[in-house]
Symmetry: C2
Subunit: 167 residues, 2 copies
């Protein structure tokens, strides 16, 4: 399995073995990535779906349900169940739109912000440690590969609001 790609190009990083290692790295890393928030969520009786909703509502306050639906890529029924519990528990406020009264604009309450902060802090803590261990150049590469791995629509959304930081 050494050289299945003739031509002598320096593409060793594209061997099947390298790709498989990358695949496994994604698998294990994602597990680590979600481990800390999962613990916090479990204490509150929530799951990852709640985390995702809270994350993006915090990111873009006032976003509509449809917006969120597109980003998360789930059905409205599935999201609705999650949103309902968050609203009932007083973490999210759903305001009827002023311009278009069919739309619901979503906001975090102070309680919701507190949970988001706790979840985000845990996740950023691990990410910070990983970034620090790997160094700035590795971080650039990390981001490049991740972005290239996204589906086009997601990459579009991701890149679109990347303008917030000057990098």
């Amino acid at each position: 399995m050494g050289e299945q790609r003739p031509g002598g190009e320096a593409l060793l990083f594209l061997t099947d073995e390298q790709l498989r290692k990358g695949i496994e790295a994604m698998f294990f890393a994602y597990r680590g990535f979600t481990a800390d928030p999962d613990r916090i969520l479990a204490e509150h009786g929530y799951g990852r779906a709640h985390h995702r909703a809270v994350h993006f509502i915090n990111r873009t306050p006032g976003m509509t349900v449809n917006n969120l639906l597109e980003i998360l890529g789930v059905t409205k029924q599935s999201l609705n169940r999650v949103l309902r519990s968050l609203v009932e528990d007083g973490l999210v406020q759903s305001r009827i739109g002023t311009h278009d009264k069919r739309e619901r604009h979503l906001f975090l309450t102070d309680t919701g912000k507190a949970l988001e902060q706790a979840l985000s802090e845990a996740q950023r803590h691990r990410m910070r440690a990983a970034y620090r261990a790997a160094g700035p150049e590795a971080v650039v590469g990390f981001r490049q590969v991740l972005e290239a791995m996204m589906d086009p629509e997601q990459r579009h959304y991701f890149a679109r609001q990347a303008g917030r930081d000057k990098a």
Copy 2:
């Protein structure tokens, strides 16, 4: 929120905004990462759990159930359900251990190998495209950050069998 880290160090890549972008990149990239296999799996009536089992059995033929349990980090009941269906469908063969007859050693049948190949090919295709787009140096950084993000045990397993390739 510009400079919360005094000392003048060039740690711009550790700002909360950068970390948040990294978090979202992980989320979106993982979605892309699983999208292609998910489609294939759905055609066969399987889910990601089956993919993971098949992947690691292919990776280490003859591994025991307990081994697989540790790698996947799920309960034996959960894994058993998946393994049973794979054995029933003739994708996995479970052989009683010769040394220790309590153990079951797991192997892919030819059918199992075919599915693994199809799943792996889809995933490697995307990974290859991402690697190619980002370039070899980015790939190194990608791997470094992912490895730093894993839990220690998973990193240990991951690094342990990294010796297969000479990188």
